[in-house]
Amino acid sequence: MSKIQEVKELVEGGKSKKVAAAVQKALEAGDKAQDILDAMVASMGVVGEKFSAGEIFVPEMLIAAKAMSKGVEELKPVMAGDSSSSLGTCIMGTVAGDLHDIGKNLVVMMLESAGFDMVDLGVDVPAERFVEAIKENDNVVLVACSGLLTTTMPALKEAVQTIKAAMPEMKVIVGGAPVTQEYADEIGADGYAPDAGSSAAKAKELIGA
């Protein structure tokens, strides 16, 4: 098995304690840092698809994301100053009145694994805070809003519409248990992901990556 393939499988299997050494070996064997990173991103794509298909569950996705981040840590010194792998910044938060963070955290991990620089605003985020965060951060290309409660759907709508009023060109993706494609369309969001597994693919599609 090639060293890069080994890294890929370790990420997919969530073997966070072994990934760093495998990345080092791949580098020593002459694999390019960018190729190793691409392999890990592809692994997380597979993980996301398996999650969406119900083949794996939250723990498996969490440990894969953790393994990926261990691998990325190892690549950082080699790739320092190279921003070509970044897809841009994504601002994410759970909307006002909603304290649920598990789904939001999973999406943060998946988007980070896909190459976005994530700014996590946490939970119970007022609509205006999303706009402020867009202004405070560089190269924001996407905003992701999560809502888990039927009662906070109006807050999701307010968040999307506040962002769009301030910055009509900004892409906004929404998700959460009660959210549907129809509701996303109705409130003016650009995209919708039914689960964390499919969020990265949708986010990349929205920014044309």
Partner: protein, 326 residues
């Protein structure tokens, strides 16, 4: 007319109920039993006997455990023993005086003496360290997680002994959310490995000591866990959401377990609720699920709703449809 208890028995045993079991009518909750401390309402926070900080912000429907680095009780699962403490507040007989008084008033021909027990085993693991840490530990530190679960199981068994001695409950209403609305938090295999044996032990102990009925609350998707629920001795899964295809579950498992819920709290229990919405939901689920092995109920659990009048309106609609369908 059957008593509430008789009607429940007819429903879950495939007999001849004379009406729908109406939500929790067969249960009398003894909320005076000593439990660990809990937030009293919006705007409050409390550190419970386990050291878990609970915060209920204004405008929210319930409290959440706080899991920033400072407030996680277990900061390293491999060192869990150095972080946890085991409450013994329930061992004081005086703590049971009010509960015992309540039990004396219960007409046991009509109702089961019931304790709603929170948190469940899975909930305790993630209340102590946060959901992400708890779920990852199932893979990364399985031995430590087994030890932690065994420790809490021992606590639950010790509590059960005192509970039985003090008030002799005839039903247990265990709370443990095992999934989101569309999926379980873990695979059925992982669930089986970590949580089935403990619950089997606890529920068997209850049943050997006078408890006739085990209800388990998980207002989530959990259809794939039903075989484990049956194996651990659950009689009624409360909180079953329609994302589970309840009619199919009834067809496959009716007689071994019954399903209580089907009326999504999130879809009927909100500030702008009205009777027409509730009627629609009650009609739909009752007609779909039929008269056996099903108990129409708000998924949230217990005999409450988040917004005034919703629980009572659901009860009234179930009474109405009972007259139509029975």
């Amino acid at each position: 007319m059957l008593t509430a208890k008789q009607n429940l028995q007819e429903t879950i045993k495939g007999g001849k109920p004379d009406r729908f079991v109406n939500q929790n009518e067969f249960l009398e909750f003894v909320f005076e039993a000593p439990m660990t401390s809990f937030c009293t309402g919006p705007g409050t926070e409390i550190e419970d006997e386990w050291g878990i900080l609970w915060r209920w912000p204004e405008g929210q429907l319930g409290p959440f455990p706080v899991h920033d680095e400072e407030h996680k009780v277990i900061k390293d699962i491999t060192e869990w023993k150095q972080y946890v403490k085991t409450p013994d507040h329930y061992k004081n007989p005086e703590a049971w005086i009010e509960a015992k008084e309540h039990v004396k008033q219960i007409d046991q021909n009509e109702k089961y003496i019931t304790i709603m027990f929170f948190p469940g085993i899975f909930e305790m693991t993630h209340s102590l360290m946060g959901m992400e840490d708890a779920l990852m530990a199932l893979y990364e530190e399985p031995e430590a997680m087994h030890e932690l679960i065994d420790w809490y199981t021992d606590y639950l068994l010790d509590y059960a002994k005192v509970l039985i001695e003090q008030i002799g409950p005839t039903a247990i209403y265990q709370h443990d959310d095992w999934g989101s609305q569309i999926s379980t938090f873990m695979s059925p295999e992982t669930f089986k490995e970590f949580f089935l044996p403990s619950y089997k032990k606890i529920f068997s102990f209850y049943k050997e000591n006078g408890v006739e009925l085990i209800l388990h609350h998980s207002d989530s998707y959990a259809a794939t866990l039903v075989p484990s629920m049956i194996e651990m001795g659950i009689d009624i899964w409360q909180g079953v959401m329609t994302t589970n295809n309840i009619p199919a579950l009834i067809k496959e498992y009716g007689g071994k377990i019954s399903f209580m819920g089907g009326i999504h709290s999130g879809e009927v229990d909100f500030p702008e609720w009205n009777e027409a919405i509730i009627k629609e939901h009650v009609d739909r689920i009752c007609k779909k699920c039929g008269q056996l092995y099903f108990i129409p109920n708000l998924t949230q659990g217990a005999d409450v709703s988040s917004f005034p009048g919703v629980y009572e309106a659901v009860t009234a609609e179930i009474d109405r449809i009972s007259k139509e369908m029975f």
